[in-house]
Symmetry: C2
Subunit: 347 residues, 2 copies
């Protein structure tokens, strides 16, 4: 199999602020694997908290030899050297895309899933001044029925923000604290957020504070999801009894196959499953979306604020994920908007 890759800079519609910092652009890597005259697409979105970078992904991919064919996926993935999980995810996606293209079926069908079972995706609103988030919420409420608010350590600020958004829109609301709170803060904030109608809280405490989660979990009136401590299937057993669910991200898992294993492990521990993402083009988001029929919650909005996404794949209609029915990922190049190139259509 022949592997190619190229860097891609994603421009974001709005600067995206989270507890860890601010992003204006994201630097990802597109992967193409050719086999049997077909091309499989994959994408690596480096996870900065895991010290991954675009350059690191490209270093990992440089000179990599992929043995066998796309149907030896398990073996090909096992043959990869340790290193970038995002790069591995891109390879796994491209191999799955090739499998589907060689067999002429979309991935969800290859996996025995009904695309109509995919849950609605939430849409995430970055941290910001109340008026700004409120305005974004009003706009997003037109297109999504579930909005995810990012919250930080400012307790009064969190409550003011949620009250304002709650008053502004009828949407279902959920929140992600990105490790910002102490146990005491969480014990004060979560009941107040429950009173305001929030449905769940993601990662209220520090990544490694399982002890804190064990205290918080039985007291919390809202379901708690773990995010930062969840990378691969081996991370899940120790979270059982600490949280109600886990947020699984293909980029951290190192591929769709490991993500499937993670879903199985979460279910065996009676955990709810959310499918999350990074800032990605429609390649990465569509790949994850093919798994959505297996999960309870989808947070697959990472392509929606990218202004230069070169691809079209999964679509969102009133929050509903509409999976493409083409073979493999079903992703295709995005046609250039009328007037942006000398295409002869300029009339």
């Amino acid at each position: 199999m022949h592997l190619d890759y190229q860097p891609i800079t994603l421009n974001l519609e709005t600067p995206f602020r989270i507890a860890h910092g601010t992003s204006l652009v994201r630097e990802n890597v597109l992967v193409r694997i050719r086999a049997a005259g077909l091309e499989g697409l994959g994408e690596a979105a480096p996870v900065r908290q895991h010290h991954e970078t675009q350059a690191g992904v490209m270093d990992y991919l440089a000179g990599l030899e992929l043995p066998g064919d796309p149907f030896l996926l398990e073996e090909v993935m096992a043959s990869l050297p340790p290193g970038s999980q995002a790069a591995k995810a891109a390879i796994d996606m491209a191999l799955h895309d090739l499998q589907g293209k060689m067999l002429g079926v979309p991935l969800y069908r290859l996996w025995g899933l009904n695309p109509a079972r995919a849950p609605e995706t939430s849409f995430t609103l970055g941290l910001g001044p109340v008026a700004e988030v409120e305005a974004k919420a009003r706009a997003a409420a037109e297109r999504f029925s579930i909005l995810k608010l990012k919250l930080d350590a400012d307790e009064a600020g969190c409550l003011a923000l949620v009250r304002a958004v709650r008053a502004a829109v009828d949407s279902r609301l959920v929140a992600d604290a990105n490790c910002a709170w102490t146990v005491d803060q969480a014990l004060r904030l979560i009941p107040a957020l429950a009173d305001l109608g929030l449905e769940w809280i993601e990662q209220p405490l520090a990544e490694e504070d399982l002890e804190g989660l064990r205290k918080l979990h039985p007291e919390s009136p809202l379901p708690i999801f773990a995010d930062e401590p969840v990378r691969t299937a081996r991370d899940i057993p120790r979270l059982a009894g600490c949280v109600d669910g886990v947020n699984i991200k293909v980029m951290k898992a190192g591929g769709l196959r490991e993500a499937q294993r993670m879903i199985a492990v979460a279910r065996a521990h009676d955990l709810q499953v959310m499918l999350g993402c990074m800032m990605e083009t429609s390649v990465g988001i569509t790949a994850a979306a093919h798994l959505a029929p297996l999960v309870d919650w989808a947070d697959l909005d990472g392509n929606l604020t990218v202004t230069n996404d070169p691809f079209i794949g999964v679509l969102v209609e009133k929050g509903k994920l509409i999976l493409p029915d083409g073979p493999g990922l079903g992703v295709r190049p995005r046609p250039a908007p009328a007037g942006t190139e000398d295409s002869g259509a300029k009339t």
Copy 2:
């Protein structure tokens, strides 16, 4: 989809004695599902310890409607009423067989697996007088490199049997105690069996004695596998820390898909995986064998002592599992032996 089923009585080459009793025949059920002009095959081997019977399987299947198509497997399985796990396994197998036949690929390929990675299968020798087991061991050693001995509560008898077999053959030896021992017996027997070169022990203690396993496990010089307590993925987390591995059986799991989930859960808990079986035709054994590239140990000998197996599928050559390369399960009707019918070939 159209579902058909028929009872089948398997005749066994030798009466098969285990701690729970003796078997001369086994009464299974063959399932056929038709869709898109093709037929998928499945088999239900009722698990008597779970109070399953051939009649119970047929009652479960009677009048069952299967919605959708074989590629909606997840949904079809979720739509089945509670009840016979063996019947569900047969349906799941037949749907997988149909998927593979519709796409023209063997199951292992659909699952991204390399059939060359399947471990050798062990061959099981039933309980019996020492001389009889020793003779069976000599015969089996010609065709298998790993022999599994059934052991019971008679400590001196166990040791005499293992010593005799050890002296008679060069094969690798493993043993299954089928819940027969107390913790104290196991603590005496396992070191002695280790000295005789056994490689692992399956289910030394009573099915529910996890407390006992927790005591035995750190003291045991041999890896311990759980069998009886392992039915579906949810049974596995509580076994972590009690044993070194689990024996997964498709008939107890209720299908290949659940078996795959179980393998993922076992791996997340750092458990070794063995793939076991019931007495089955080549339909059920071949279905399980397609999963073998994912596991450490295969104990897929349930069709080898059936004298009237109507099918040919996975073959065994010197213990090595040779998966068929036909689409789906790759199972086909066994040609009648020359001379048994008026075929015109009688010359």
